[in-house]
Structures are given as C-alpha cells and as structure tokens.
C-alpha cells in the first residue's frame, strides 16, 4: 500500500518528461528506440536457424523400410535447405508391445518429452500416425505441420483424417493385382500362386486387402493363401512347393506363435528355401532374395517427403502442397535372382529397374577398355588427319579456320598419346585409394560383425574412406584437366601451379621409372595469360621426354629438375634431365614433326609443344648442360602493367 504514492510520483515524473518539450523527451525517445532495436536484434539471433523434425514410426527401431525412408527423406531435406537439421525419431513398436496401457503410458511420456522442444515439422510413417499425435495430449505438437507417408490398398481407409489442418503427405498405391499379373507374365506356366502373410493385425489386414484386390483377377483360381502359419510351418511349406509355383510375399511381422520378425528377414529365408520365384511389394525387400515385383519404391517415397518438408521450411503452407500419389511404385528386380530363375531382362516390363547387377567384363576392366578405345580413336583420328593433310597440301588452298581446327585436333591427339603412355601409372594411382577404401570398409564390417566397433573407430574408418575417396577424385580431376578440349580459353594462370599439377599426375610414372622429380620454383612469379590445358600439355611433354632421356642412367642418378625464373619481360620454365644429352646433329631438327628416337610415340611432342609456346608469344629451345643431360627451356611473356602484378598479391 505504501508503494502506491511512489508509483504515482514516478508516473508524474514521466508525464513531466513528455509533456514538456524538453530535450529530455527527444533523448529518451532515442534511447528507447535504440533499446528496441537492440532487443529485436537479439531476439532475431535467438531464433536458432536449426529446423527440428520429429519422425514417428509405428514399429520397431531398425526396421529396414524405415531406414530407407528416413535416410532418403533426411538427405533430400538437407540437399534442399542449407540449414542444419535437428532430427528426432520415435518408434512406437506396436507390433511387439501391443499392450494398450503400455501404449497409453508411452503416449504420455512422448507428450512430456516434447513439451518444451520446438518441433517445426513431424513426419509420420504408416497408417494412424495422425491419430497418435492427436491423442498425445500435447497441444503444441498437434499444431505442428505434418507429413504423413502411407500406402493405400483396399480396406486401409483414408490415409489420414480428411481436412486435418497443416497436413500433407505421400500416399503410394499398393497395386497387388498388377504385381501378380506381372509375375504371371514372366512365368506363364504357373499352376499355383502362394500368397504369404503373417499373423499380426497389420499382416491380417494386408492379407484381406489382397483377397479383395485379387477377387476380380483372372488368376484367382490359382491363388492359395498361406496366412498366419508358424515360422516353422511356413519354412516347411516353402521347401516343398510343387513345380510351377510362384510366391507373392506380402509381409510377416509376426507368426502364429506370436514371435515377431523383420519382414525383410522372413522374405530372405523364404527366397532361399523355395525353388519358386518370390515376388514382393516393397523395395526394402529387394536384395534379400526376391526376384522383384511391382514395388512401392520406398526411397522415392522418402525423397518426395523430403521435398515436401523442404517446401514447408521455405514457407509454403502444408495445406497448399498436394498429396504426392504418382510415380511411387515401379517394376524393380534383383539381377542375381533373374539369373537364378532364368528370366531374360528383355522380358521385363518397360521401365523396369534392375539392381544388384554384377559387373561384366566391360565394367570391370573399364580403364583398360577406355585405354584401348582412346588408342583406337587416336589412331584413326590421326590417320584421318594425315590423309586429310596430304590432300590439303595438293589442294594448296588450306582454309585458315580448318587448319586451326586440325591444329587443335592434333594437340588433342598428342595429349591422348601421352595419356596412353601414362595409363599404367594412372591405373596404379587410382588403384591405391580404391584398394584402401575396399580394405578399410571390409575391416569396418569385420569390427561390426565381431561387435568390436566403437564410435571413435567408426569415425576413423569413415574419415579414412573419405580421404581416400577424395584422393581418387583428385586423380580423376587432374586427368580431366589434361583431357579437356576447349576452344581458345585463355585465363590468368600460375606456371608454378601448372608444373605442380603435371608433377602430381606423373608421380606414379616417376616412381615406376625410378626418377626423382625436383623443383626449383620461383615463388614471385606473376600470372601469365594462357590456356592451362595446353600449357600443361607442354610441361607434360617435356617431363615425359626427360623421363625417356634418363632411362639409360643408373636409377640412383635419374633426376628431372623443374625450374621457373622471372626474367625481364618474360618468365622462363626449364626442364633439366640427368640423361645423356642431345646429339649436336639432332639439335637442328629437334622441333620438327616426326622426330623421334623412341619406338613408342610419333615424334610430335616437341613440335606440338613449341607451337603451343609460340602461340602464347613465347619461345622454346634446348641446350646441353655442361654436366651432361639436356635442358629444355621455354619462355612466356609477362604483362608489363602494374595491375597484372597486383593480381598476384590477391592470391
């Protein structure tokens, strides 16, 4: 009570401040505004950019289908949004814990668990997840946008309550009839179709849906249902199927004894035990031994859900996003099973996806094949070039444009010849990281199988695989940088980098030939204008020549020294070898075409290289070094103005 007059007093003071046109009022306003601004800035940064997603699965953790959905959805969201994600997942495990009171207590627990968590979106898999969320008693969660994934078959009812606010989804049609027709068309002699399903309520529901779906089918007379057997009964039946049978597998979550299973395991066992081909409905079962089927492609389902999620995060209201229904099922097959049952790929329906193909000769020896093809292409192109050049000479009316294009072709030919010579080294260079990846991954699997895996080991294994993979990619990238065939592409390049690139590509080749590459590079080199692919080619030619030159030198003394120097108006690159030097009488023709002392190669390398250098405004020449060996030099002009030099500073 005694406080009251003081507050009044305070208010009076405020009013005085504002009513008087005193400078205080202005000052106060400014301070207030500043405070407001600051505050709003703080609250904006308070809102974490992280989006939170809750996945809700009706059955057990590690159900294979869930893994696929979860991973593909997550990856799609991450690919579409650059924001980090906070992902929660709950598995209700209804199949193994059907007890009502348990489920109720679980709901209460979940409701509490997420009371203070900000969830931006939840994704429910399977029927009835909307009802679960609505029953949780968590008002906040009920208002969160939802994406529901399920499939539709007879009896399954609506995928989710109609007009549920902020809800969209992905609903695949389970077309059992189409699957059966396809199976019968691949096995026209079929006498009997066994439809396998389990004893859980979901299994029973699917079985009844199938009965309804197949009621109208022409083949209904051939169908026999093996529903709700015990596991052992099922296995025995599968082992003793009569000839000309086909198995259509629905799902077995649980058998008559109440034992629960991963449906995927059961389908694997069935496929191994039965001589008859097994078809199934979900892509998660492919690879376990089923031949295939008109399947719901779970990966695609996950991707679609991920796309919806990404659009919701971008601000689209969920209601405005139509439910995705199309293109979720497709004909999918396991190549190994097609082989096992003698089904030719050309008999499969159009647009079928065939997975698990084993590599044939072509795929397995891709490098060798590519090498041979490159060689043949090179040979024929070069032959064509020779014939053509001959004709052109007679005509004596060479067109400048045409010559230019031939020139480029020749450059490309020269590059390909070089690559052909390098292919063994390149295979080795790629093979090393690939070997490391394979062995590391297999070691990982062994740790896992022996239950000896721990997170730090896992991290190490994955990190090793990543860095090995990057190394392989680097080899391919550098290879590409040599192969590229561009029309006049001049850019600012660093000659030191060009030398390093080529030295990198050649490191295996150098090792094979026991040659040491040494570098003496001038770090203050300015950039030059040039075509990086062509200049790499020049350097490659010079170094490869140097390799050849030292081949008769004792291995300990096989050295190639790369040197760069800045001269007055140009920069100079030299490649020095410790070989036998150049005979004086050959000096003259060194840069003429078809000058080769080697059995391999065409003697075009130096001619091509000096042409490239000339085109770049530079000069190429060779000298014998006083201490034996040859040195090849070339120069490239350096831009005179200051701004060019400044470019270097930025790098």
């Amino acid at each position: 009570m005694t406080l009251w007059p003081e507050i009044r007093h305070g208010m009076l003071a405020w009013r005085r401040l504002f009513s008087a046109r005193s400078p205080y009022a202005l000052l106060l306003c400014l301070v207030l505004m500043g405070w407001l601004f600051q505050n709003s800035a703080v609250s904006a940064s308070d809102v974490s950019p992280k989006k939170s997603i809750l996945f809700l699965f009706p059955q057990a953790t590690a159900t294979p289908a869930y893994e696929i959905l979860y991973t593909s959805a997550k990856e799609t969201i991450q690919a579409h949004t650059n924001e980090p994600l906070d992902i929660y997942a709950e598995y209700l495990d209804k199949g193994r814990f059907p007890d009502e009171s348990y489920q109720r207590r679980l709901f209460e627990l979940l409701s509490d668990k997420y009371r203070d968590k900000r969830i931006d979106l939840w994704i429910g898999v399977g029927q009835g997840m909307a009802e679960v969320i609505d029953r949780l008693g968590n008002e906040v969660l009920r208002e969160v946008p939802a994406i529901l994934l399920s499939y539709r078959a007879p009896l399954t009812g609506a995928p989710f309550p109609e007009n549920r606010p902020r809800t969209t989804g992905v609903v695949a049609d389970l077309d059992i009839g189409k699957n059966l027709e396809m199976a019968l068309s691949l096995h026209p002699e079929t006498q009997k179709v066994y439809v396998v399903s389990g004893a859980s309520s979901a299994d029973r529901l699917l079985e009844r849906a199938t009965r309804i779906a197949l009621r109208e089918s022409e083949s209904v007379g051939k169908v026999e249902y093996l529903a709700g057997l015990t596991f052992n009964e099922l296995v025995t039946r599968m082992e003793n199927l009569p000839p000309h049978s086909v198995v259509l597998y629905l799902q077995v979550q649980c058998d008559r004894n109440g034992d629960t299973f991963y449906s995927k395991d059961i389908v694997g066992i069935i496929s191994r035990k039965s001589h008859a081909p097994v078809y199934s409905m979900f892509s998660s079962q492919l690879g376990e031994g089923v031949v295939g089927g008109y399947m719901i492609d779970l990966e695609r389902g996950g991707v679609k859900a991920g796309e919806l999620a990404a659009r919701i995060f971008k601000g689209d209201p969920p209601e405005s996003l139509p439910i995705v229904k199309d293109g979720l099922s497709r004909h999918m097959f396991d190549w190994r099973q097609l082989k096992r049952h003698g089904i030719k790929e050309n008999r499969l329906p159009e647009g079928s996806l065939v997975l698990y193909k084993e590599l044939g000769f072509l795929e397995e020896h891709r490098w060798m094949v590519v090498g041979v093809i490159l060689f043949v292409i090179f040979q024929s192109v070069f032959l064509a070039f020779l014939l053509d050049a001959n004709r052109k000479q007679k005509n004596a009316q060479d067109q400048l444009v045409e010559a230019e294009s031939r020139y480029r072709q020749l450059l490309h030919c020269d590059r390909l010849t070089r690559l052909g010579q390098l292919s063994a080294a390149l295979v080795h260079e790629l093979n090393q990281p690939l070997t490391a990846i394979l062995t590391t991954a297999q070691a990982g699997l062994r740790f896992l199988n022996a239950d000896k895996m721990n997170p730090s080991l896992m991290r190490q294994i994955i990190q090793n695989i990543i860095s090995d993979d990057k190394r392989a990619a680097e080899v391919l990238w550098s290879l590409r940088s040599l192969m590229k065939r561009k029309e006049k592409a001049k850019e600012q390049i660093s000659m030191n980098a060009v030398l390093e690139d080529v030295a990198f590509i050649l490191q295996s080749e150098a090792m094979l030939r026991n040659v040491t590459i040494e570098r003496d590079l001038d770090g203050s080199l300015p950039f030059v204008d040039g075509d990086p692919t062509q200049l790499r080619q020049v350097v490659l030619n010079l170094i490869m020549n140097a390799f050849d030159a030292v081949s008769l030198t004792p291995p300990q003394r096989r050295r190639v020294i790369l040197q760069t120097r800045l001269l007055n108006h140009s920069l100079q690159v030299s490649v020095r070898d410790s070989g036998g030097g150049i005979q004086m009488e050959r000096m003259e023709q060194l840069f003429q075409p078809f000058q080769s002392t080697k059995h391999s190669g065409m003697g075009m390398g130096l001619a091509v290289s000096s042409t490239i250098v000339r085109e770049h405004g530079g000069r190429m020449w060779a000298e014998n070094s006083p201490d034996g060996g040859a040195v090849f030099f070339f120069t490239l002009p350096v831009q005179q103005d200051e701004s060019r030099n400044n470019v270097r500073v930025h790098h």
């Binding site: 093979n431 090393q432 990281p433 070997t435 990846i437 062995t439 070691a443 990982g444 090995d468 190394r471």
Partner: protein
C-alpha cells in the same frame, strides 16, 4: 605381422584389417626402414608392397634371404606385375595378391604364412637338435656312426678302423645312446636329416 608399403592409405587400411582380426603388427613406409629394425626372432609374416620408391619389395625379399632372415612374405601388387609374381614365388613368397584384394584373401594368406613359418621353425629346431647331438660324438664314435649308417657290419667296421669287433660294439652302443635312438633304422633316418653320409 609387418606391413611394408609406401602408400599411407593402403598402410592404414591394412592396419585396420589386421587389427580387426586381433593380429599384432608394425608398419613401415619403406623396405629400408624395415631393415633398420633389429631382426625379429618370433613367428611372423611380412605383408609387402611390390612397387615402392627406393628399394622394391623384390629387392627386400632378396636382401632378407641374403641375411638369412626367413620370414614368409605375402606380396601385394598393382596390375601388370605378372613376371614379378613368378620371380617372387620362385623365391618362396607365400602369396601374391593383386590390388584390390578381398579381405578374406589377405587374411587367409597371412594365416597360412604364419602356419608355414611355425612349421619351418619346428623343423629347423629338430635339425639343430640332431646336429647338436651328433656334435657330442667323439671322433672315433663319429667314424663308427658314419660307417654304421651306410650299412657296414660290425666286422667290416672293425676291419676298416683296425680295431676289435668288441670295441666297435661298445662304440656303437654309445653312439645309439648319445643320439637317443634305439634302432639302426632310426639312426639312418637321423643321419639323412643331418645330410649324411
């Protein structure tokens, strides 16, 4: 287990694989580095890359043979080393695995190498022990031993050595005793193992 490969990625991968099976191992980035180590006395095996900068795998194999360090070698190699394979196998390599190899292949090769090493070692020990026992014979006993194992009768031995048959008998029984054998057949077998006569 000794991993010798100049490629750090492959070295790391092999280490993981051997570790997953619980083998004890050491890694070396070059043949030279391995040779600096003091010779390993126990049962082991070398997993060796053929192509390395500096000393190659084959060079190392040769060097180890020169130094009488006879550890079995499992070679790993890139493509196109077939002539080397022949050479290496002739010199007693246990296996020659082209990269990339299956984990089971490598582990199998390594395991059989270890078994082989173990076997060789025990055979060697036996020969050494026989040699030791033969060394304990006196010169005269040795003369009797050499003649007995080629099938000479006591009488003949006595004649050759110009001693009495009785003395030969005594020497002969001492020989049997020292060599720990009970029959002429065992004696002959032992002599064969020792490279006699």
């Amino acid at each position: 287990m000794f991993i010798i490969d100049d490629d750090p990625s492959v070295r790391a991968a092999l280490s993981l694989l051997l570790r997953s099976e619980g083998y004890a191992f050491e890694t070396y980035a070059s043949a030279e580095e391995f040779l600096e180590r003091r010779p390993f006395e126990g049962i082991g095996c070398i997993v060796l890359d053929v192509r390395m900068t500096g000393m190659s795998g084959l060079d190392l194999q040769e060097e180890l043979a020169k130094r009488d360090l006879r550890m079995p070698i499992v070679f790993i190699t890139g493509h196109g080393d077939i002539p080397m394979t022949v050479q290496a196998m002739k010199r007693g390599a246990v296996d020659f695995l082209p990269k990339p190899f299956e984990d089971a292949q490598l582990l199998w090769a390594v395991q059989s190498a270890l078994e082989r090493h173990q076997e060789e070692r025990s055979r060697r020990n036996e020969t050494e022990s026989i040699r030791g026992r033969i060394a304990r014979l006196t010169p005269r006993e040795h003369e009797v031993f050499r003649r007995a194992v080629v099938g000479l009768l006591n009488k003949q031995i006595a004649f050759e050595l110009k001693i009495s048959e009785q003395t030969v008998k005594i020497h002969r029984s001492r020989v049997m005793q020292k060599l720990e054998v009970s029959s002429l057949a065992d004696l002959v077998r032992m002599a064969e193992k020792n490279g006699l006569p």
